[in-house]
């Protein structure tokens, strides 16, 4: 029994470091591509190949400053952005509260999956703009209806991802826990849910981007603030540079959120796909 404890040398060689070096290449290409497109834009606008009404020059940046300082359509850029951000985040919060439990139920029970699947699958491919009139007729033109439209767009992404995460738990992981004394509830709480977390986060990330793409539709009716509202107002008056300011603002915020979500994923689920 003198060999009961393994020499640390053996233990040490048993571990192989798996750290990968960071490759900055992707980031460089990304930045390069962005700059190249900006350059093309600038050249086309500068040479006036297209009238400024259709494509203002990148010096729209000046307009950015103006909209931030003086505002457009009775609100500053920050106020418009805040209104939109609130709508998207409120919709996301409610969607998570509803769609995660629904997704878990769908992942666990074929009966419940059969119950929810037709509803979700039936309206998921419909553009929100198509059912906007219904939402307005049923729920009016208040803030709630706007949040509801975005919420409806987010729910399927989160619910379906969650369900697929729950179904994707390796059977060994569940069976091992059961032979270690886990009750059904403990298997759900300590194995299935943590195991589904990566996919819940992916669903949230997809939901956010779907939410932002629904924003303009949501702010189509009776909005007084919001980036989507600002774009539509500017478009009505052919103020193309403000339209571009609005588009770029949405892009920037959505991109920042996407990036933040990726950081959250890395932080909460560094093990994703590793074991």
């Amino acid at each position: 029994m003198s060999e009961a404890v393994l020499p640390s040398a053996i233990a040490a060689t048993d571990e192989t470091p798996r750290r990968r070096r960071r490759r900055p290449k992707g980031g460089l290409v990304f930045a390069g591509s962005l700059l190249a497109w900006l350059a093309v834009w600038w050249i086309v606008a500068r040479l006036e190949l297209v009238p400024a009404l259709f494509l203002p020059s990148p010096e729209v940046a000046a307009r950015f400053v103006a909209v931030i300082r003086d505002g457009y359509a009775d609100a500053t850029l920050v106020q418009h952005a805040a209104a939109s951000l609130f709508r998207v985040l409120a919709a996301l919060a409610v969607a998570l509260l509803v769609a995660v439990p629904v997704g878990i139920a769908m992942g666990l029970s074929p009966v419940l999956r059969g119950l929810f699947d037709p509803i979700i699958e039936a309206y998921r491919p419909i553009p929100p703009l198509a059912y906007l009139p219904l939402v307005v007729i049923w729920f009016g033109i208040g803030e709630g209806a706007k949040v509801l439209l975005i919420y409806l767009a987010i729910v399927p992404a989160v619910a379906l991802s969650t369900a697929s995460g729950v179904r994707g738990v390796p059977v060994e992981r569940i069976n091992a826990a059961r032979t270690l004394g886990a009750t059904r509830w403990q298997v759900l709480r300590h194995v299935v849910l943590p195991n589904a977390l990566p996919e819940i986060l992916v669903g949230t990330r997809i939901g956010l981007s779907v939410g932002w793409s629904t924003l303009v539709a949501a702010e189509l009716v009776a909005a007084r603030r919001g980036l989507g509202f600002m774009i539509q107002t500017a478009s009505n008056f052919l103020v193309t540079d403000v339209v571009i300011v609005g588009i770029l603002s949405i892009a920037a915020i959505a991109f920042a959120m996407e990036f933040a979500m990726r950081m959250v994923e890395k932080r909460l689920t560094p093990w994703k796909g590793k074991i």
Partner: protein
């Protein structure tokens, strides 16, 4: 070795069939096997011989189609912490670090963090994991991960260890290391164990008894005592035992038996 009293695990006329397309798919046919307390039974057989089905029946995952499986004389109906299972892969919880994985059975029993960590420290020492306690399990090599799996099963303090090819995915050198770890753990805890393996040498080295299954549907075609595990446990010298003439002969004999029964429909 003579078996006295009620065996820890017993299969009586165990037949398991899975629902197939138009007719049931037989996995095991009429298995009679009893495992006494403290025994280490190694089950070998060709792929698809129902080895894993046998283990799943003992665990309580798969009900018998006919016959019975018993734990200490009582029919097995569901998984129990008395029969902890170790899998080849995918069974650890990657969101927990090494010590929390090992202490998982104690967490299920409601022990708080400090007490469960204290409780598993000796296990971390004997399995060579103590320096890795705080590491995320997914950063460990396959061999270290299997140590975590073994330590975790022992932390549950089961009566029986069910080992489903736990070393099957490891390279040869790591595998021998872990066979040694497994043997030492068995010798020091005297847990009853059932090991499924397709590795002849592993079966002979670890099993106090070797049971050979035929190709599908699995029947027991041979069962014999193997002295090597007890020799190593008593006197050490794993390498010498492996290199001995007796071990070589046993390997050749077992290979013969397997070769005769590896093909479906081969003579019994």
């Amino acid at each position: 070795m003579t078996i006295t009293g009620t065996p820890e695990l017993e299969a009586r006329g165990l037949t398991v069939e899975y629902a197939g397309g138009d007719r049931p798919l037989p996995a095991l046919r009429n298995i009679d096997l009893s495992v006494a307390a403290g025994e280490f039974v190694a089950v070998v057989g060709p792929s698809g011989s129902g080895k894993t089905t046998l283990l799943n029946a003992f665990a309580g995952f798969v009900p018998p189609t006919s016959g019975e499986v018993l734990f200490r004389g009582t029919p097995i109906r569901a998984p129990s912490v008395e029969r902890a299972m170790v899998f080849q892969r995918h069974a650890l919880l990657p969101w927990l670090n090494v010590v929390e994985n090992v202490a998982f059975p104690l967490k299920l029993r409601g022990l708080d963090r400090r007490r469960r960590r204290e409780a598993v420290t000796p296990l971390l020492v004997t399995t060579g994991l103590v320096d890795f306690a705080g590491k995320p399990v997914w950063t460990l090599s396959g061999g270290m991960q299997q140590r975590v799996g073994l330590a975790r099963a022992l932390a549950a303090d089961p009566a029986v260890l069910l080992l489903d090819e736990p070393l099957g995915a490891l390279d040869a050198i790591t595998r021998e290391d872990l066979q040694r770890v497994l043997l030492d753990l068995w010798a020091s805890t005297r847990k009853t164990a059932v090991l499924i393996t397709h590795d002849i040498e592993e079966a002979l080295f670890l099993g106090t008894r070797v049971v050979v299954l035929s190709a599908r549907p699995g029947r027991i075609v041979a069962a014999f005592e193997s002295p090597f595990a007890r020799e190593v446990a008593a006197a050490g010298g794993a390498r010498k035992v492996r290199a001995s003439a007796a071990f070589g002969e046993a390997k050749a004999g077992l290979r013969d038996i397997l070769a005769r029964h590896a093909v479906v429909g081969a003579a019994a």
